[in-house]
């Protein structure tokens, strides 16, 4: 009888351990994380999904190409290959602001087979955040801008707008961006 009680006790202990493990796994599944590349434009924080970012370069000489739309800043030499560089401010309606010397970065992004550089003011960090921490973008965002926004999260108490670079490429491919769109100077 006492042996049976011991067995039951051991069963209970084993069950408790298994339960704890299951809960831990559940928590791990629930806390699925995503990598974000956090960057700034005019002191505001934005991010791309890390999986879409191929490399981050110091600002190289950007060669202007006449006969191209305003959202294409030009082309750069990336180890002998030529990459286009986009002015993402055009899409987000952000005023132009001169780069602080040595701080500007070109984020080389690729999605759905399209690859291009994007000029940003600075790359702040590459972080992993729980997927569930990405909330829906605030409803006050302009509808045109919201098209490019996946959601919002926080980084060191700063609000971060997560952008879908694929949507930017898609918009360009659809030719829906006004080529002569003027960006107001700050």
């Amino acid at each position: 009888m006492g042996e049976e009680i011991e067995k039951r006790k051991s069963d209970r202990i084993l069950e408790a351990i298994k339960k704890r493990l299951d809960e831990k796994q559940t928590i791990q599944v629930e806390e699925k994380k995503v990598e974000l590349v956090v960057f700034t434009l005019n002191d505001a924080f934005y991010a791309f999904y890390g999986k879409d970012v191929k490399e981050i370069l110091s600002v190289l000489t950007i060669y202007f190409v006449p006969g191209t739309p305003k959202y294409i800043l030009g082309i750069v030499n990336v180890r002998g290959d030529i990459q286009s560089v986009l002015n993402i401010r055009t899409f987000l309606n952000i005023p132009e602001q001169g780069l602080t010397e040595g701080k500007g970065r070109i984020v080389i992004a690729e999605k759905n087979g399209v690859r291009s550089g994007v000029l940003v003011d600075s790359v702040v960090d590459v972080v992993e955040v729980p997927e569930e921490s990405i909330k829906q973008a605030i409803s006050t965002l302009n509808e045109e801008i919201r098209y490019f926004v996946v959601g919002e999260t926080t980084y060191k108490n700063n609000n971060v707008v997560l952008l879908d670079i694929g949507k930017v490429f898609e918009k360009i491919s659809e030719g829906k961006i006004e080529p002569s769109a003027e960006i107001p100077n700050k």
Binding site: G67, I82, S173
Partner: protein, 163 residues
Amino acid sequence: MSGVETKSNRESDQVSDDEIRLLIFKIMGVCFGADMEQIEEMVDFSQAQQEDWDIRNFTEAISFRDIEVEYKKPKVILIKDSDQDVGIVIDQPENIVNINIKSIRLLPPLLENHKTVDAIWAAVFLGEELALLVDFYRLQNSLPKIENQKLLENSEDAEVESN
């Protein structure tokens, strides 16, 4: 060919099968390269005005956006084998170089698909500089005719003439 007698020009008159000979010129700091095989001759702008040429402006076909383009020393290139004598106005060439075709780089697809003119067809690095390759045959069809006097404003030729 007048005005571009450079060292590299004299030393490399021969072009092998895997090379292209480029006339290098800049407009508002943007470097261009044009295939010498497409060029019949080049003359000063004032001289071209005396010829019965259809003179057209390079920068009116290839938009520099809101940049007000000024030519420092305008030259006119006569396109070879053109149905009509088409002269294209460029700025004073800097050099003539032979480039191995392997060093020619395609434009990125995103840019290739959204440029407004197809005359810029590739690019090549010349040391630290990047030259955009221009096809004058493609360009000539999209060039509007210009008012000659308007072009001369602000150019050094105009200053010489006024003196």
